[in-house]
Point group: C2
């Protein structure tokens, strides 16, 4: 069974909203044995929605649309889908009551315009919304099932799990099991990874091996189809092991692992506490680490010492060193890591100092140059990196490289 994802909304067409729903839906549909073969975005224009739903329903078995179910004038998904199905809208009393109750719970009367959210195409199945006001719905158009859910990820996900997923499972289709595994790595160029594993990347292979890069993190993706999860896992295992062998310790995790999650697990395993001193990355390392729930057991503090005075006062960096070799230097990176480690009492400390750009570069110290320090009871090491990209990219890649340096240190403890 195959599916097309349809995002509805001017802002999605214009790319002003990153449609993260698609990633989530593609993964879970695959889990139900449904291949997502395309993704479309259309504007908030009734005719265009209707046309896109028509075309999609002729092309695939399942169309999963998101967005355009709000109460405003721009929200036209229900009209467009009803048009494509050739039916009118009718009031769903249960949905209206649900919307009224929800407003009541927050101490407000339902504004009259929210009534439209309880209107669904005749003959459609309501998909209840446990997280918000607008219900979704599913309706047969030709040989396809067309479902629409709110664009708000929290509402969409709960609705999919509760209501749409059982509908899809009930559709007559071959329950071939598809299993996806991923191996993730950082600090290796994509072309090098491709070179090392291209002999495994035949398009007809099972598992299919693919490469994705996002935010500098490379994922090697294994997709196997088989009669059972166990059989699919058995197909993937030897290929994944070969890839891991070829790529070595730069493989930091599996599945959706992030560097910060792996670092957090290593902190837990080793019982180490960590402190950070940032300059050019401006707090991004702290932000990444604190994305992980429970990190407060291990993460003590992050001193973003942007000014030289802060580096001197808070971290004990020598003003002479800043004067003689500059704040972006091996010496200062080392002193920052040592300084925050001594101050906080953390077992391990990492630091960054560099030139994020676009200004401030020179021949000797170009934009993208970043020194990173790591201090522990084993001593201090400093690495020198040059990142290519704009200010945001340099900060991001540097913060991740610092986390990767910390990960490798913890791994070998």
């Amino acid at each position: 069974m195959n599916a097309l994802l349809l995002s509805i909304g001017d802002e999605v067409v214009a790319g002003q909203i990153a449609d993260t729903n698609a990633a989530w839906l593609a993964e879970w549909l695959l889990d139900l044995g449904v291949d997502v073969i395309a993704h479309e975005a259309v504007r908030d224009v009734v005719d265009e929605i209707e046309d896109a739903v028509h075309r999609a329903a002729a092309r695939v078995d399942l169309v999963v649309a998101t967005g355009g179910l709000g109460p405003t004038e721009d929200d036209l998904s229900r009209h467009g889908i009803a048009g494509a199905a050739g039916v009118g809208l009718e009031l769903d009393e249960a949905s209206l009551q649900h919307i009224r109750d929800r407003f009541y719970r927050y101490g407000r009367a339902m504004p009259e315009r929210n009534r439209i959210q309880a209107m669904i195409p005749e003959g459609a199945t309501v998909l209840p919304n446990t997280q918000g006001t607008a219900p979704g719905f599913a309706i047969a158009i030709g040989s396809a099932l067309v479902a629409v859910m709110p664009g708000v990820p929290r509402e969409m996900k709960a609705m999919f799990d509760l209501a749409l997923s059982p509908l899809i499972e009930a559709m007559p289709h071959e329950r071939r099991v598809v299993r996806v595994e991923r191996v993730r790595l950082y600090r290796v160029p994509e072309s090098l990874v491709n070179e090392k594993i291209r002999h495994l990347m035949d398009r007809d292979a099972n598992p299919l091996v693919g490469l994705l890069v996002s935010g500098g993190v490379i994922s090697v993706k294994f997709t196997a189809a088989a009669e059972s999860q166990a059989a699919a896992a058995a197909l993937i295992a030897p290929v994944r092991e070969e890839v891991e062998e070829l790529l070595g310790e730069q493989v930091f995790g599996h599945g959706d692992d992030t560097l910060e999650q792996v670092v957090a697990r290593e902190l837990e395993r080793t019982g180490c506490t960590v402190a950070v001193a940032e300059s050019c990355t401006g707090g991004l390392i702290g932000h990444y680490l604190t994305q992980v729930p429970g990190i407060s057991d291990y993460f003590l503090e992050d001193l973003v010492t942007y000014s030289n005075e802060a580096k001197v006062d808070l971290l004990g960096v020598s003003p002479d060193a800043i004067r003689s070799v500059g704040a972006v230097s091996e010496e200062v990176a080392a002193a920052m890591a040592e300084g925050v480690r001594a101050r906080s009492g953390a077992d391990v400390a990492i630091s960054t100092t560099g030139i994020a750009g676009p200004g401030g570069g020179s021949e000797a110290k170009p934009v993208g140059l970043v020194y990173m320090g790591l201090a522990s009871e084993q001593g201090t090491v400093v690495e020198r990196f040059t990142f290519v990209g704009d200010r945001a990219v340099v900060k991001d890649r540097a913060a991740k490289a610092a986390l990767d340096m910390l990960r490798l240190h913890l791994k070998n403890r």
Copy 2:
């Protein structure tokens, strides 16, 4: 003239890469008088690319595709587009030489597999790549022009400006001028904004007024069509002024302004320096501020005091206060802002302390509760917020609320 954006790649279909190219292209195409009416993503499968290009070329005047021009087995855009055009691929010697030169510059010989990047469909116009190896190309299919560029944003943007944009301008089309303006605001519910300005949101109005929400920031978007930029601006001005009047001081900026950019401008205008003390936001405020080039003139330091010890040692928060009212409290938020202001000598300081979740909440202090302090020579104020969402959302909305609080303070100086 209308256009369809086509993103090519398994990872884009699966939503694993946020296709930011689309946002950029939609904006610049509009500037050329081209309306983007849809966005599609297709997998790295020759037949599906060919099919999508066929369908798109029949539907719109211009198809702008990105991605799938790399040297690997997954990169099949040139094959798919050649197929849709009904022609074969031929070697472009100039492109091959360019690719060789590029490798040479980095001290490497061109790997044989990069040769494919110099193959373009017969009859296509080469779009030179000044930022990378793969050239793009443009070819007429039916009555449409179909162009493809690399998926790497830096390469795509340079290629569009240099090579594709002139081709599009040369296409015969009405040079109606379209002007887009935006007003941006934070901390106001979308439904309230909609209520206040819905009388201006008629779908046939010129300017068309729309609402977008991204990362909690609301944009009111004005799109006007006219014979000249001046005429379009004159159509927008009174409507934008009415909106600004209705929405008051929560309007923080225009166009693509971010909160941190506006804060940076206010810091420059007032000459104030700023310091930050973060707990639950974990460094995100520092990260946002340091996204702005040149912020180092005003941003001194950001102490991410995650542990209570760090709050006490670095910021002088009273251990008694932490014991009696807890780290997440008005008192501690105030002491953190005052502490970092005193330590750094900054004119203004902001602080956050709260419960990002998913654990750590209680009836009295639920997940999402965040206290924010702002200390200046005018004294200290604390605001209490409750944010709804997962850990990442709570952190993000809290960091932005702190920036907004700082913005309002600076604005009134």
